[in-house]
Symmetry: C2
Subunit: 335 residues, 2 copies
Amino acid sequence: MSASRQVLLAHGNGGRLMRELIDELFARHLGNPQLDTHADAVTLAWPNPELVVTTDGFTVQPLEFPGGDIGSLAVHGTVNDLAVALATPVYLALNVFIEEGFDLDRLDRIVASLARAARECGVRVVAGDTKVVPRGQGGGLYLATTGIGRRARALHLRLDRIAPGDRILVSGPLGDHGIAVLLAREEFGLSGELVSDAAPVLGLTQALAPLPGLRFMRDPTRGGLATVAHEIAHARGVEVRLRESSIPVRPAVRGACEMLGYDPLYLACEGRVVAVVAPQDADAALAAWRALPEGREAAILGRVLEGRPRVVLETELGGERLLDELEDDPLPRIC
Amino acid sequence: MSASRQVLLAHGNGGRLMRELIDELFARHLGNPQLDTHADAVTLAWPNPELVVTTDGFTVQPLEFPGGDIGSLAVHGTVNDLAVALATPVYLALNVFIEEGFDLDRLDRIVASLARAARECGVRVVAGDTKVVPRGQGGGLYLATTGIGRRARALHLRLDRIAPGDRILVSGPLGDHGIAVLLAREEFGLSGELVSDAAPVLGLTQALAPLPGLRFMRDPTRGGLATVAHEIAHARGVEVRLRESSIPVRPAVRGACEMLGYDPLYLACEGRVVAVVAPQDADAALAAWRALPEGREAAILGRVLEGRPRVVLETELGGERLLDELEDDPLPRIC
């Protein structure tokens, strides 16, 4: 690398330092037979009749948090968007925006983590680009990843497959990622035992794929479960009813939410799946998830009804509360 | 849109404002039958045996400059990386990082420009993501685009096809983009008639595709012609000789460079192509380019020789000068 242990503007100029950064840091971790760091574009064999494409930006703060970092999160977030479409991730393109002055050892650590997550998910980074932005214009590190996958089976999951009577399931407790990231911020001065749920959901989504009654899946990231529920309600003009007593939330998440004034229904998860399933397959879906270590705490927590497009929470006390669409941002830079 | 005419943090939170921003601004400009703004991932038919993939980040400052803006530049930059690999652009994935407080009308203008450039290049935006970063952590607007193309012909252009004796051509004058962006910065208080060369190079690259002696093409963006020459010299262990008197540079660019202390050989172009061609095809390549409006000022400006890996400039005065690899960044945020 260079004598300085910080990223300089010159690391982004196309010259010697940029070549060294790419060869000695990025290619060292991410190298694979298909990554040619000297090519403008890469040519890849594609023996499949379809592509599944997704893209995502990552701005999480802090960049490293209990259970993950922006590098592994970028892989998991992108892989999970393919997984809920029942696609198998194959290739990843990576964009890196680095703020001048960023610590090179930290960059190395994050890229190593990204590479490890990619290997674990069976996806290869085949194209990349780095930009360095001047100090005070970058927030440390931002990533953008584009995932290309192939479909495992010819099943199109779409919001418009959802019908009244369908059941809504979640694969595990809500809000772990949001609260873990939040508590990792210095201003809170808190440290809990809480760990982000960030992880690939490929096993969870494939477990439901054989069910004929599977309608739709989504990973409840920004805006959380409540936002997925609103998407369903608006897209289909239906009422979504959630049963508070069935919603899995860890005591530590619930406690942090009460103390800080957040609602776990709106908090981001990065390793959970929300699935909508026809009523006759709901129990089978629940059993399929609970048979997996990452689905042990899965629950059936709601249903779709004919009615006005709205989201209703049946509270533990037997009342009802309308869940609003998210307005203010409770937690910027959570993903 | 919303009552406020600025981007708020809440525009990035996954809730109502984000949905409105995506539906009413991005989807309005970028809408096409394959863009489903409510899907995690999009499924696309792909009746081709290969993919060509490229990815690029954009941080240009100012965001709007004579001859383009960050939106059209993102399309042209990505399309051009596919074009120099002799691929036809088909799909684009778009990531947008917006700084809190960004003017919504300006965002609208830039997305409209991006959409226009995409239509002109025949490429469709099929996936996208937006993030809003807090004020003071964003530099206004950053974009990342991933392009997916199909190969027009089964010809792999690679640096290792280059051999001693080959000629080096450029499709037009150097440095227009770099200087146009630089002069558009407020701190210079200058305004020239100079316009960026940012444009698609698909016509230029396709014009050379039939030549059997075509070895390699690259668009000289960050680091300019000198950096492409260094890549060739290092990758092949050859000497690259450039003839200063043959290098096309507009008088206005030359004047600005002299005044401000820049070397046009290191300045970014965004609509030019550098081609390496076997000697027997060099005249045919030049003629093919000059027959195009965007290649009228093309020139043969150098050659590849056996020797040490270095880049030599034969000066107009009959001397020789070694061109160093770019070290300091002369112009951050140029692309």
